[in-house]
């Protein structure tokens, strides 16, 4: 009896194991003093006061937004780039659960976690821009706007976050040891993946469709009736590239969690993802030119913004496409990883161009972000990274839980 009582974990020991990784509180706190955490702490030390100022003093106190330029860095980077780069979740989930590419199973959970956290912090960034965060559920329950693309985006992000959470819940239940719940959650995976793919197709393109409403404001080389298709295809490419990039970082930083088999197969999976991204980039490149032809804007290519358009399309779309092909031909994961970084930069550049550089391109009152807007964006990204690290250090994301190895 005494032996059984000694073996039964107390709530405190369970908490210590799950939250503090088995360390005592003082050991855990000592372990937090690392260069990354110090830098993150400094970023938060500046970001939190700026957040308080934003929500107490209003947008004008921390941004250069105006009636002419209502969308700025927070929409351009936090929302548009965030949603595009979080597309890996649906891309990999679809590949594994719907297309049957079981080889990529080891990257599903990191991709789904990246997608979930990406969308979550997109909503956080959106709250900064909109203000009144307590009104976030309004489009769901109070005030519909069925003629608005933003209404669709709001609904989709809320539903897709739920989908990604359901897809990630098996990892949470494995961490907490809830076997029965895990059994039910795993059965929901395929349905959640199908629903997630449908939602993603719509809202990734809907973010581009937002700009259909402003043909006079967006530069003709970026504006096209096909902009929803551009956004959707580039989102797939962005998601795959982010999975490659995030996998590269995770395999270095969390290498102790990953078993030998996953380390050995990782390069092959990377090259496979690069192949898919190459196809996406090639299609995207060709469609961009069809978009230019649709508006007959060839003469605009020889203007300053036209040159910038050519830089975006040739250096950050066509060049990564060929680099991916080269990496796949040589089966070189190193080339594919470098190209993934270039592609991610290219997608960020495209979203920044559409939302800021080429938007209101011919008005006198041009927008440029204030330093506090950069602080908020960097703070949100930092909190996202810290959350990702917290989850990966505790839950079976990069490895298969020993109790369920036979399932994979």
């Amino acid at each position: 009896m005494t032996e059984q009582m000694a073996q039964k974990p107390t709530f405190r020991s369970w908490l210590q194991e799950k939250l503090f990784l088995g360390k005592t509180t003082s050991e855990y706190l000592k372990g937090l003093v690392t260069p990354f955490n110090i830098i993150a702490g400094l970023i938060l030390a500046v970001g939190i006061p700026v957040t308080v100022i934003r929500f107490t003093q209003g947008l004008a106190s921390v941004t250069n937004l105006s009636d002419t330029n209502p969308w700025g860095l927070w929409i351009g980077v936090d929302v548009l780039c965030g949603v595009a780069l979080a597309a890996g979740g649906f891309a990999i989930g679809t590949a594994v659960y719907l297309f049957g590419l079981k080889d990529y199973h080891s990257v599903v959970r990191p991709a789904v976690l990246t997608g979930f956290l990406g969308y979550f912090f997109v909503v956080v960034g959106l709250c900064f821009d909109l203000g009144r965060p307590w009104r976030l559920p309004y489009p769901m329950f109070v005030s519909y706007g069925v003629t608005s693309v933003m209404f669709l985006v709001g609904w989709h992000v809320a539903l897709y976050l739920s989908c990604q959470f359901v897809e990630f819940c098996p990892a949470i239940s494995e961490w907490l040891g809830w076997r029965n719940l895990r059994k039910w959650l795993v059965r929901l995976t395929v349905g959640a993946t199908v629903f997630g793919a449908i939602l993603s197709t719509l809202h990734q393109s809907a973010l581009g469709a937002l700009f259909l409403l402003a043909p006079g404001k967006l530069h003709p080389l970026w504006y096209s009736p096909f902009i929803p298709v551009f956004f959707f295809i580039s989102a797939i490419v962005a998601g795959l590239s982010m999975v490659i990039f995030e996998g590269m970082l995770s395999h270095r930083i969390f290498s102790n969690q990953i078993d030998h088999h996953h380390h050995a197969t990782f390069d092959r999976l990377t090259v496979g993802l690069g192949k898919a991204a190459a196809v996406g980039l090639f299609s995207y490149f060709c469609l961009k030119w069809i978009g230019v032809a649709h508006g007959n804007h060839w003469d605009l290519l020889n203007t300053p913004l036209g040159h910038w358009f050519l830089v975006e399309v040739f250096i950050f779309v066509l060049l990564p496409c060929f680099l991916y092909v080269w990496g796949v031909q040589r089966e070189s994961a190193g080339i594919v990883r470098f190209t993934a970084i270039l592609t991610v930069i290219g997608i960020i550049l495209n979203r920044v161009n559409v939302s800021m550089v080429a938007f209101n391109w011919d008005v006198v009152d041009r927008y440029s972000p204030r330093w506090t807007e950069f602080v908020v964006t960097i703070t949100i990204i930092t909190v996202g990274l810290l959350t990702f690290r917290w989850i990966v250090n505790r839950m079976p994301v990069l490895y298969t839980h020993p109790d369920y190895k036979e399932e994979y």
């Binding site: 090639f282 060709c286 030119w289 032809a293 796949v328 031909q329």
Partner: protein, 43 residues
């Protein structure tokens, strides 16, 4: 170009030509991308 019809004729024409080229070049691109795997499979 004098009329909207002229404009549509020209732009749609170039667009369709580009789209057909894309479809043809895509096949070549895919075969080029898959070249190493196909040569490995044939050995």
């Amino acid at each position: 170009m004098f009329t909207l019809h002229d404009f549509m004729h020209l732009t749609k024409g170039i667009e369709y030509l580009l789209a057909v080229c894309f479809l043809a070049v895509f096949i070549a691109f895919w075969r080029f991308l898959d070249k190493k795997k196909r040569s490995k499979d044939s050995i």
